[in-house]
């Protein structure tokens, strides 16, 4: 656990202003405003159904793949509102990577999985070779797969597949990586490997981790944001939120009274 508070002078690469998500009959997210400072891992926690997955999916416009939802408010990436009319969601998703609850490897070789994002933008073979190696190293998978990069990615274990998904997202060199409960389908050993990877990565880029697991947030995050029924209840340094929560709802959640 890191107590390092974010440096206040560094402008956040990603920030959210007055973000609401409306379904047909209810508000999934209600007026959320939140900064994501550089070189930090922010854990978004909350009970199931609180809107945390929807929240993280608004950060790279993945939310638009679910029909029937309307997004209002701003998500600024490097000073630009990604919901502005002239912004192409494809370009947003190329800058802001995402890792999902279940490993989502594609039915192709390990190498091609990691190279997927680069092939989309027609990078040269040299660049791809280097980027694939680098991203597999950064994702902590290189030593396990370096001798058989041509093997089908489907032959890897669940934890390896999830780290391959992280490598795939890293290969395009994003400044922000979104992780939506990345360890919820993994066993404890694999979870630990993924958490080590996250701890290393947060030195380099902004990580946003959605988790229902308070102890995971305690282990890896710098900041915790607590969501409840679509409202951002409280956000702050991990130690502050987990040890001295200001809001009784937060306290009830972290002490396991609901979840």
């Amino acid at each position: 656990m890191s107590d390092a508070a974010p440096t206040p002078h560094e402008p956040p690469i990603l920030n959210v202003q007055g973000l609401s998500v409306l379904a047909k009959d209810r508000k999934i997210l209600d007026n959320v405003t939140l900064d994501f400072p550089g070189h930090s891992l922010t854990a978004v926690v909350g009970p199931s159904g609180c809107g945390k997955t929807t929240f993280v999916r608004t950060l790279n416009r993945m939310v638009e793949l679910t029909p029937g939802l309307r997004v209002t408010g701003k998500v600024n990436y490097a000073g630009q509102n990604i919901y502005a009319r002239e912004v192409n969601p494809v370009m947003v998703r190329r800058r802001i990577g995402m890792v999902f609850q279940r490993p989502t490897v594609f039915p192709m070789s390990i190498f091609e999985n990691a190279a997927f994002g680069l092939r989309l933008v027609h990078e040269s073979e040299d660049v791809i070779d280097r980027a694939v190696t680098e991203s597999l190293v950064r994702a902590g998978l290189w030593d396990e797969v370096k001798t058989d990069l041509d093997r089908s990615a489907l032959s890897l274990s669940g934890g390896q597949q999830q780290r391959l998904c992280i490598a795939r997202a890293l290969a395009v060199n994003p400044k922000v990586l979104l992780l939506d409960e990345p360890t919820s389908a993994l066993d404890p050993a694999a979870t630990q490997r993924v958490e080590q990877t996250m701890e290393r990565l947060k030195q380099e880029i902004v990580l946003v981790l959605v988790t229902h697991n308070v102890s995971q947030a305690a282990r890896v995050s710098d900041r915790v944001a607590f969501l409840h029924t679509g409202h951002l209840i409280e956000v702050g340094a991990t130690a502050d939120i987990l040890e001295r929560p200001k809001n009784p709802l937060t306290e009830q959640f972290i002490t396991g009274r609901f979840g």
């Binding site: 993945m62 990577g97 039915p107 997927f116 994002g117 489907l154 395009v172």
Partner: protein, 302 residues
């Protein structure tokens, strides 16, 4: 398996049930078990006898000359209808793949749920339409309205309309059944919809689509009504798109009962035999393909 023998003797077990009802049920079960293989035989007997009857009538007179001769002066030559069938099937399949594949992908990936629902219903309706009605549609549309006459091209278009919904349905189903998380991951990596379709969707959907294509071919090659209403048999292989063309099923339709000579009737049996073999081969190919690709995609649908 002798079920009653495995039950413990009286008093040994609480599970022992010696009521008359239970004994009757076990006995009934045993008899049904013996009856089922028999019923299966009854079910496949028509198919076996069909295969035997057609083979017996066709094979003794079938020779390489019969299969390859394209002489217009012989009545025991299948060369012209074989070439005609091959050409019609090739072009009709290409057209049906074009319509069906693009329609299926558009329905699965781009249309709203409501519109897609209507399109799917139309395709199902088309599958359920009797082929003779589709033949009339082809006759009025291509032969008369477009003025193509009874021709190769009119037959090709009518047959491709008949085959399209089969390919459409499998393509639509194949793309909609790509696991949602895989689709989201591809789009989440910044793939444009077209890139997702080409790089991720198609490789996953491919075996199903190929199965649909071969299935449509197996059904199309055996169709008679769309062809006899839109083409006219020719003594030569087609040399232009407006030429007459002979389809194998046409040979059966025209020769089987009405033909004055046993020679022509034999020809009908030979055509039937060829069709049967073609359909069997297509079905076997479908099996082989889907088995081969299922191995490659193992682990994807966990």
């Amino acid at each position: 398996m002798n079920v009653t023998g495995t039950v413990a003797p009286e008093g040994r077990s609480l599970l022992y049930d010696r009521s008359a009802r239970t004994r009757w049920r076990l006995g009934f079960d045993r008899w049904i078990g013996r009856l089922l293989p028999l019923l299966f035989l009854v079910a496949i007997l028509p198919i076996l006898s069909l295969v035997y009857y057609i083979s017996a009538k066709a094979v003794p007179t079938l020779s390489w000359t019969v299969l390859t001769s394209t002489s217009p002066y012989r009545t025991d030559a299948l060369g012209v209808p074989i070439i005609g069938t091959f050409e019609v099937m090739t072009v009709a399949t290409l057209l049906a793949v074009l319509f069906g594949l693009f329609g299926g992908i558009a329905t699965a990936e781009f249309l709203s749920d409501r519109v897609a629902g209507w399109v799917r219903m139309s395709a199902n309706l088309l599958v359920g339409t009797p082929s003779i009605i589709l033949g009339y549609f082809g006759y009025f549309t291509f032969v008369l309205y477009f003025g193509w006459g009874l021709s190769f091209i009119a037959g090709v278009f009518t047959l491709s309309f008949f085959m399209t919904p089969y390919i459409f349905r499998t393509a639509d189903l194949a793309f909609t059944s790509v696991p949602r998380h895989i689709r989201e991951a591809a789009l989440g990596s910044g793939a444009k919809p077209a890139q997702y379709i080409l790089r991720i969707g198609t490789p996953i959907a491919f075996p199903q689509i190929l199965t649909g294509i071969f299935l449509a071919m197996a059904i199309g090659v055996g169709e008679t009504a769309p062809i006899v209403l839109t083409t006219t048999p020719g003594v030569l292989a087609p040399h232009s798109i407006y030429s007459p063309v002979t389809f194998l099923t046409q040979l059966i339709w025209e020769n089987f009962a009405q033909a004055p000579s046993t020679g022509l009737q034999t020809l009908a049996f030979q055509a039937a035999f060829l069709l049967m073999v073609t359909v069997i081969i297509l079905n076997v190919v479908v099996r082989l393909i889907s088995n081969r690709f299922r191995k490659r995609l193992e682990g994807l649908y966990q």
